[in-house]
Amino acid sequence: MKILVIDNDVSIGITIKAALGLNASYEVTVCLGAKEGLEEMKKNEYNLVLLDFMMPGISGVDLCRTMVSDEKLKNIPVILISALPITSEVFQQSNDNFNQISVVKGLLEKPFSVAELLGKVESVLNTTK
């Protein structure tokens, strides 16, 4: 399973890569910006993208919208990650219902445990197989 992590925070990239590394079947690549991430997705095929909600320049939500309009990328499932209350309905409604974008398959609020991260990744991979 090829997983792409897009987060401008270097530590989060390393952390997620280390945690996902506990499962030997995951092959993790980290990109530090939306632009690089988009290029990487186009270059190589990925089974899942873990995406930071808020990034300088192109945000995670912007990137999701770009993916939806791209034939090649619109079927890659995305898990949005944020320190903001992204699982709260009020928050979703005040942010254009980003959770309803078709590529968004999961939401993860920081801080999360190893088990929560692995569980979320596994369940999204299972449902989109």
Binding site: S11, P85, S88, E89, K110
Partner: protein, 446 residues
């Protein structure tokens, strides 16, 4: 004039004379009608005559004597004077300026109460009466005053406006003025009655309150941002230390394992604090979604007896359950949140109570609500602190003397949760004996 008349040796009240004269008059006229006309005309004429004269007869008969009138007049005058005195003393008692002024170009002050004289810094009533209505306000207010007075005279309604008052010594101060027209017998506005309230203090209070509100908001915003900023590095510490924990176990290095446990444990503690701050600030900014489920609160507590008991184990405390038997208590709330409240109460009871104590969880069912009480055998809470128990950062007040961890948001969050489901929280305490924390929720239909 005398009311008794001496007729030979008889004493006759004057009133009777008018009655007798009337009867004589009636008798003469009726006799006359009988004499010069025949039935049925005579009967008709008699009836007509009687009825047409009856009102004037009654007035004359019931007419009061001058003496009576005079006594009545005096009584009325006395009552009026008394009422006037009452009003006058009431007016001088009023902690607001009350005054009247004439409806003319200068607006001469007609009267003013003691408070008004003092408020504007005048010597006495005569001193104040030298002023026109316009002189007791700042010059900048003239146009506004004139236009509003014109409006008042025209519409004859009570008007409330804010002006800048002017004291004798030139001090300006904010006032609220209630004015109502004095309308004379010809329905003309002869003057205006005003009640004037000094707003200086109220304005000062309002400014202070506004400042405090914006400070509170700024503090919440700061906390919110700080908490969010903490979450990202916290994620790395938590996840990486958790990975290291597993790795140290596989490597069999006990020393490192212990240290990693410490890092992980402390990161978890930090996470709890961040969560508390965010819950509190999100609740205030209404970002928290309220989940409503209808469930039996008694059953929920019974289902969690063992997990509640486990909270007391570290300090060897016992928990005694007194849950209402054979009844149900259906409430509408989020069961997870309500459990959070109960856990918090029990956790506090364990932390602040003596070791080996017995904590009691008791439910009380009334017709409209269900109340859950958590009683400890702790040191109790001093009366002056009880009022702040459910406030934000209640622990910060005496931070050097505190004996337990925490930033004092736990009970505040409990209150926010319970109040969002229209319930109440509270605490009763006896110093040296223990405290009872309780929450109640309104009952709903199943």
């Amino acid at each position: 004039m005398k009311d008794i008349i001496h007729f030979f040796s008889l004493k006759i009240p004057r009133k009777i004379i008018s009655v007798l004269l009337f009867l004589l008059y009636f008798a003469v006229v009726i006799r006359f009608i009988f004499e010069y006309s025949y039935p049925p005309q005579s009967y008709f004429l008699i009836v007509l005559f009687s009825f047409s004269n009856l009102p004037s007869a009654l007035i004359l008969i019931s007419k009061k004597t001058n003496q009576e009138l005079l006594t009545e007049l005096r009584a009325t005058e006395k009552a009026l004077q008394e009422t006037y005195r009452h009003w006058d003393s009431l007016l001088s008692l009023l902690p607001q300026a009350v005054f009247g002024y004439a409806n003319n170009a200068t607006g001469n002050i007609l009267f003013v109460n003691n408070f008004g004289i003092k408020l504007f810094g005048y010597k006495d009533l005569e001193d104040f009466k030298k002023m026109g209505y316009l002189d007791i306000f700042d010059k900048s207010q003239k146009a506004k005053i004139m236009s509003e007075r014109a409006n008042l005279v025209e519409k004859k309604n009570t008007v409330i406006s804010e002006y800048v008052g002017l004291k004798k010594d030139g001090t300006k101060f904010p006032v609220a003025l209630y004015s109502t027209p004095i309308i004379d017998g010809d329905h003309k506005v002869s003057g205006v009655l005003g009640i004037l309230i000094d707003l200086s203090e109220i304005k000062r209070f309002k400014e202070t309150i506004d400042q405090l509100h914006s400070l509170d908001q700024a503090k919440d915003d700061f906390l919110n941002i700080a908490a969010h900023e903490l979450k990202t590095p916290l994620t790395s510490i938590l996840v990486v230390s958790e990975i290291l924990k597993t790795k140290s176990k596989t490597l069999g290095d006990q020393e490192i394992g212990k240290e990693i446990d410490l890092v992980f444990g402390e990161a978890e503690r930090l996470k709890k604090i961040v969560d508390q701050i965010l819950t509190a600030t999100r609740f205030e900014n209404k970002h928290n979604v309220i989940k409503n489920e209808t469930f039996d609160l008694l059953a929920l507590i019974k289902d969690h007896i063992s997990s509640l008991k486990s909270l007391a184990e570290p300090r060897k405390s016992q928990i005694n359950f007194a849950i209402t038997e054979g009844k149900e208590a259906w409430v509408s709330a989020d069961p997870d949140k309500i459990l959070e409240v109960l856990n918090n109460f029990v956790d506090n009871a364990v932390k602040y109570g003596t070791p080996d104590q017995t904590i009691t969880i008791k439910t009380i069912l009334s017709a409209t609500e269900v109340k859950v009480e958590v009683t400890d055998q702790g040191i109790g809470i001093a009366a002056e602190k009880i009022g702040r128990m459910f406030s934000k950062f209640s622990q910060l007040e005496n931070s050097l003397a505190r004996t337990q961890e925490g930033i004092g948001l736990g009970l505040y969050i409990c209150r926010l949760i319970v109040e969002s489901y229209k319930g109440r929280v509270g605490v009763n305490s006896v110093v040296g004996k223990g405290s009872t924390f309780y929450f109640s929720l309104p009952l709903v239909k199943k």
